[in-house]
């Protein structure tokens, strides 16, 4: 596809990297020549210096041939204007990033009235991710498929867990749990496990199940499934606000620690039921005073990576809290991964991820049948949701008779809202959606799973 990206900031460059790798033709527009140049040389894309909302600049970038324009500059209004002009000039799909909380309730209205394809609010998206995580305290990462009916959870096999040295076939027979382990990370290696695969200590497993079954599974293997009732958030930014707004109705007690007095006042106005503390979240006494020891979840969401990492390490040390840590710099991700920080989130990935999902779904109409796509393990394993068409060559044949490629697993079948964890006798019927986990990237259609 021909894609124009306006704005070469964090998200812009991440998107450029991902989309260009997936084979799209990208043109980037940025006012800052140097930034544009850096992105244009690093990834194989075309760069233009100028204001993305200008018609002539868009023309120069080839708006008439473009399939999609993504506006991710600093300014919400500029992003919206870019999309409006692009809509008129090129009649293409448009995606804008709008992060001002004032608009958050009106986003669907703005999107529909202005004819945009998608509006993304990065802070809101991040908060949504965190809240999903806190719903499943045992998981490191949570994604949803089939419109939220199926959860894809990642969790770690702790020492002494009944899962240790357990062949996967025994999960359903011995534990009587209807979950499917679809990927296992062991150190640097990633496996798509077969039935005889034995789990080891410190493996990170990805499993697919409905929310209810996932909870059942966690209970049986002795991972804490107690619902989280108290959350402490350090840093009172927009993400924290959205997060608190999502957690409070779930009956959680939310404590937010924020340095800036003015912001504290704002938050206490917006969140009457949250406990807003004015103070430095890195102060040990303050954390103790506010009862960090008894917290069940701890979210380090300040603007400094170092602070966040340190705070989460401290929280892990003094409490049993589930920790969520925000990290901006991707460069050190291996080190951070080795730190036992619990869940680590890279905000710009979250935004990029959402947009990528849309782009992939867009291809749907052009020739691919991918409904949603998640990268379970960065660059190595993907989970794809496909729609089964009427003429699909896989429809109606029991799974055991299909000649499937290696390193591939069909995790679940969603038949009109009913979730089936497939065995060998199950079939994929037209109208179903199926989730496929694979290490082969680049699947565009369900028939690609055949040899």
């Amino acid at each position: 596809m021909q894609i124009i990206i306006v704005g070469c900031g964090n998200v812009g460059s991440t998107l450029t990297e991902q989309l260009s790798r997936e084979g799209h033709n990208i043109t980037v527009i940025d006012r800052d020549g140097e930034k544009m140049e850096a992105v244009a040389t690093q990834y194989d894309v075309l760069g233009i210096v100028g204001n993305g909302a200008s018609f002539s600049v868009q023309n120069e970038a080839g708006i008439e041939q473009a399939d999609l324009l993504i506006a991710v500059t600093q300014s919400d209004e500029l992003n919206l204007l870019c999309c409006l002009i692009a809509k008129k000039a090129g009649n293409c799909h448009t995606i804008a990033r709008v992060r001002n909380p004032v608009y958050v309730k009106e986003l669907p209205y703005i999107r529909d009235e202005l004819g945009l394809s998608m509006i993304i609010n990065p802070e809101h998206a991040a908060a949504l991710e965190i809240s999903r995580l806190l719903k499943f305290p045992s998981a490191i990462e949570v994604d949803t498929f089939a419109k939220g009916r199926v959860e894809l959870l990642k969790c770690k096999v702790e020492a002494g867990s009944p899962l240790c040295n357990l062949p996967l076939t025994d999960i359903s027979s011995k534990l009587r749990c209807d979950v499917l382990v679809c990927a296992v990370e062991r150190g640097e290696e990633v496996y798509i496990p077969g039935g005889n695969f034995e789990l080891k200590e410190n493996d990170i497993i990805s499993l697919v199940a409905s929310a209810q079954k996932a909870n059942e599974f966690f209970k049986k293997v002795g991972m804490a499934t107690n619902r989280i009732r108290s959350v402490m958030i350090v840093g009172g930014g927009e993400t924290s606000f959205y997060l608190a707004k999502m957690l409070l109705p779930m009956g959680m007690d939310v404590t937010i620690i924020e340095k800036d007095k003015e912001r504290c006042n704002e938050l206490s106005e917006l969140l009457p039921r949250a406990l807003i503390i004015h103070g430095d979240g890195t102060e040990r006494n303050l954390l103790q005073e506010e009862g960090l020891e008894n917290m069940q979840a701890f979210v380090a969401w300040t603007n400094l990576d170092e602070e966040n990492v340190m705070l989460s390490l401290y929280a892990k040390h003094v409490s049993k809290a589930k920790t969520v840590t925000k990290v901006h710099r991707i460069a050190y991700d291996e080190i951070i991964a080795s730190l036992n920080l619990g869940s680590v989130m890279y905000p710009k990935y979250i935004t990029a991820e959402y947009i990528l999902q849309y782009v992939r779904a867009m291809q749907n109409s052009i020739g691919s049948n991918v409904e949603t796509l998640y990268q379970i393990i960065e660059d190595k394993v993907e989970a794809l949701e496909f729609y089964v068409g009427k003429q699909s060559p896989v429809a109606g044949i029991p799974l055991k008779d299909l000649e499937l490629k290696d390193d591939l697993l069909i995790c679940c079948i969603n038949r009109r809202g009913q979730i089936i964890t497939p065995g060998g006798q199950d079939t994929m019927e037209p109208g179903d959606t199926v989730v496929v986990v694979t290490t082969n990237t680049g699947f565009n259609d369900l028939k690609d799973i055949l040899k």
Partner: protein
Amino acid sequence: MNCSIIRYIICRVLEFQALFLLLSAVVALIYREQAGWAYVAVAVGCFLVGWLGKKLKPRKNQFFAREGFVTVSLSWIILSLTGALPFWLSGEIPEYTDALFETISGLTTTGSSILPNVEALSCCNLFWRSFTHWIGGMGVLVLILAILPLAGGNNMHIMRAESPGPTVEKLVPRVRHTARILYGIYMVMTVILILLLLVSGMNWFEATTLAFGTAGTGGFGVLNSSIASYNLSSQVLITVFMILFGINFNVYYLFLIRKGKEALKFEEMRYYLLIIAVAIGLITWNVRGMFDSIWEAFHHASFQVASIITTTGYATTDFTLWPVFSQTILVLLMFIGACAGSTGGGIKVSRIVILFKLIKNEISHMLHPKRVNQVRFGGHVVPKETWRAIQVFLFSYIVIFFTSLLAISLCNLDFTTNFTAVATTLNNVGPGLGLVGPLGNFDVFANPAKWVLMFDMLAGRLEIFPMLVLLASPAWRRG
């Protein structure tokens, strides 16, 4: 201080007073009473003074908070002084102090009387007594604001000084239109009540005067037995309407502009109705043995609770005979009072609720010293200025209360009488307990004590600060 604009406005107030007095003269004409001449005489006098004083245009139209407070408190004092004259001139209340007490009690919608026998008064005097309730309920200056373009654009200062409650909300962009809407609602509700009372079997005179007393949440009746001798349907009607007039008028405006859902969510109203329900429940349970049936107990309990919390002060029964528990509840209700922005008096439900929320906040602040927390009321954050003003209000209220209590204790009456006399006047209720109960009257006090209680009534109606401003020296500084 811009004295000329104050003089100008007070002259307009006098003109209105003349108009009000003439209405009473008309009643005298209908009933062919000699006392009517007193009204005509005072009306002419007021009109002449007002008309002449108005001729001299104010030098400057400047009008600020200071002028607003002084105008309002002076207007009320002058309205009281002139309003008392007909009682005195007609000879039906021989002492001027008593006449003034009766007028202030009327204007401030208190309803405390010094008359042992109300039925001896002529109809025009009775009408005037009740009519002062109606004027005082919503406020004279608000009425004038609704009709005349006053004081340039700074009418808000007047509105703020005269309207009860911690804050004054404009309903529409212009103060004048806001005042019109408020008076419109007030009048329509009064007319509805008059018609309903007529249907329930009262005659025109009773229906009108009692409706005025109910609308202004005043409490002057036309019979010695207050409301007790009317039939059940009239009593129930008055109960319901007392409660309705105690609700913030913004609620009715919301209904008018078809925002019924928002109106029902009005936080102050919900607390107000909750307090009423709890009080009625407790008293019904407490007095159930004194009446033939639980329904009769419920009826009297609800009438008394409505009458006291809205600070009206009608009575269907002598509640000084009730158990102490019930009496104590009634005294507590006197202090709580009605909603802000209604015609009722007292401390006001919104202030009480905000104060309770402040306590809650303070406790939470002690447990989490660094907590940032704000008081919310009606879905909005209460600004610091507002709750600070409420705290100061409460303390001034207490100071005035106990100073008055000390002062009138010189009359050497019993403590219950003294305490409830101050409570009932400062909260604009009407009857108290002991000697000033529903069947007693305030004639038991000596003249100096009456003056103290008169001040209390005015301070209570204008919510203390306008009266204090009048006494404070900074208001009279030059420049």
